[in-house]
């Protein structure tokens, strides 16, 4: 277990560093002068130079990069060009809303995916076929198509849920469902495939030969073996759900990190964009890391060295 942990960390840290570095150089390499945005296009050349000096943008790139990394270590991401507030505070206010949405979506994903996978892999009748059809249709229905459909059906035609915002009770339901349906379709496919594979193994036949009932043999033996691959996929889905939240946040006007990112892009607020991209990336990588560790811990085959 310790070995797995070290191996995963050895992968996580360089990847995070690579992402942070890429974001830094992407921001410096591409056109767009932040001074011009802050001071207006008509600002005097001296004023812009003065601002660049104050911000340290006239220093060599290496020095800027070093300062950037030092700042990151202290969670100092600079200040928003629009509001003048620290980027870390802006992100800190928006992120819990996205985390709330993402967690609910992840819970919905699991709740939807497990029965779907069980139906698709265990039932040969209409139920199994229906579950498989639902999965493949949902895969072709991205959140930005499903969201408006749900909005129209369950908030406008039958006003069961609020149309937008995050304050009213029940506001979480539609955006979370919007995110959960495509990701549960994917997860249920992986889980169903794993279950089918396990169901054909010899140990299951052996368990049945010892007199274990079909259901019990399945629950006691096949399911635990299929679980780790599902958990790994769930970790990848968690990252995808957080990024996908950008779509749900736009459709349902949810005041989270996605909405902040989009408005920062529209307003060319580069420090906020940079901070948001780094935060999205780090959380995604962390979710993958956690899922890998959980999968390793759950795997019955690896229990020996635990």
């Amino acid at each position: 277990m310790t070995q797995t942990l070290l191996k995963r960390l050895a992968l996580f840290l360089p990847t995070t560093w690579a992402v942070v570095t890429a974001v830094f150089f992407l921001g410096r390499a591409l056109p767009g002068d932040p001074g011009e945005i802050l001071l207006g296009e008509g600002a005097a050349a001296e004023a812009r130079l003065e601002w660049r000096r104050a911000e340290g943008l006239d220093r060599p790139l290496v020095v800027q990069y070093g300062r950037f990394l030092l700042g990151l270590a202290r969670l100092d991401l600079g200040r928003s060009l629009r509001t003048g507030r620290p980027v870390a505070r802006e992100l800190g206010e928006a992120f819990p809303e996205t985390l709330r949405l993402g967690t609910a979506a992840l819970a919905f994903t699991v709740i939807l995916a497990f029965p779907l996978a069980l139906a698709a892999s265990r039932s040969r009748g209409a139920l199994g076929a229906g579950a498989a059809a639902f999965s493949s249709a949902s895969l072709a229905l991205p959140s930005f198509l499903l969201g408006p459909l749900l909005l129209l059906a369950l908030a406008v035609e039958y006003p069961l849920f609020p149309v937008s915002g995050s304050d009213e009770p029940g506001a979480l339901f539609l955006p979370a469902l919007t995110l959960a349906v495509p990701s549960s379709a994917f997860l249920s496919r992986v889980l169903a495939a794993a279950l089918r594979e396990e169901a054909g193994r010899d140990y299951l036949t052996a368990a049945r030969a010892r007199g274990l009932g079909a259901q019990r043999a399945f629950l006691r033996h096949a399911l635990p073996n299929a679980l780790p691959s599902a958990v790994t996929v769930l970790g990848l889905q968690a990252g995808a759900l957080l990024t996908g939240a950008i779509f749900a946040e736009k459709i349902f006007r949810w005041p989270g990190l996605g909405s902040l990112t989009l408005s920062a892009i529209a307003g060319r607020d580069y420090p906020v964009v940079q901070g948001a991209v780094i935060l999205f990336a780090v959380v995604t990588l962390a979710a993958t890391l956690l899922a890998d560790l959980a999968a390793a811990a759950l795997d019955p085959r690896g229990r020996g060295d635990g």
Binding site: V23, F144, T243, I265, V273, T284
Partner: protein, 281 residues
């Protein structure tokens, strides 16, 4: 095609997919002929109209003809998807074969770059690129290809290594063939069919990503229409004029479905891994 492996006898779904794609291309190519109206002329007196003889699919929030915008939007999505597929295919094939043939430090560095890109959601990378580069056709294509090339590079790398180990390549080398000759005569021809099938299977996801970015307001800049952008503005007027979201929504869903069906069918019929599917249990 969804249920069979043969190209000679396509299934009903396969035929429907081909038919839809042909209609789509026809609509995109013949947009100026099929719609007498312009996709950009505004008429604020006739906003959010329902379908009529004048405007067969109604008008949008600025009084523009929805049919014209849907047809010209087909051009945009077709062009962007094709360009992004081509760019990522070429970049992936070249970088992947180079990595497989050269090995060493190049292979190591490229491997790390690919791992990093694969660890992130593609849409996040695309948003980051577009946030700094601004909107436009070229940035959009580049942002879509920024992660898409990795899939082709990985396959190309494996295939290049496999081909390089073949006896006939050793024979060519012994006969005095140079590295470039081996690359062009042996390695690329062996890899290309596989990569083309992979590209066909990946077309739907590229198109979906393009629509997603356009939906977020990061697609081709106005006044050019795109289905994703039409869907986004349709969402803003969902209460008054639901057809504005419905038209691009239906088009997008059917295009993605058709590409998916076709891509999966091609991959199944021509793919290198023609393993029997294990659906029995």
């Amino acid at each position: 095609m969804a249920d069979g492996g043969s190209l000679r006898k396509p299934s009903l779904a396969g035929r429907a997919a081909v038919l839809f794609l042909l209609l789509w291309m026809f609509g995109a190519a013949g947009a100026p002929l099929l719609s007498p109206r312009s996709y950009r002329s505004q008429d604020l007196a006739r906003r959010l109209e329902s379908p009529s003889l004048d405007h067969p699919l109604g008008t949008d929030e600025l009084g523009r003809d929805v049919l014209a915008r849907a047809l010209y939007g087909a051009r945009v999505s077709l062009a962007v998807t094709a360009a992004a597929l081509l760019l990522s295919l070429v970049a992936g094939a070249l970088l992947g074969t180079a990595s497989g043939l050269l090995g060493g430090a190049f292979d190591l560095v490229l491997g790390r770059v690919m791992d990093t890109l694969l660890a992130l959601p593609g849409i996040l990378v695309a948003i980051a690129v577009l946030a700094y580069s601004g909107r436009g056709f070229v940035p959009l294509v580049a942002s879509l290809s920024a992660t898409a090339w990795v899939g082709y590079a990985r396959v190309a790398r494996t295939l290049a290594q496999r081909t390089a180990a073949e006896d006939y390549v050793a024979a060519a080398r012994a006969a005095g063939a140079g590295a470039l000759h081996i690359l062009l005569r042996h390695v690329l021809p062996a890899a290309l069919p596989v990569l083309l099938v992979q590209a066909a299977a990946g077309a739907a996801s590229v198109m979906m990503a393009e629509a997603g970015l356009s939906f977020l307001g990061l697609g081709v800049p106005p006044p050019y229409p795109s289905w994703g952008e039409m869907l986004a503005s349709g969402c803003d007027t969902l209460l008054e004029a639901p057809h504005l979201a419905a038209v691009p929504g239906v088009l997008l869903f059917s295009a993605v479905w058709a590409l998916n069906t076709l891509g999966e069918g091609l991959a199944r019929a021509l793919g290198p891994a023609r393993r029997p599917r294990v659906d029995a249990l």
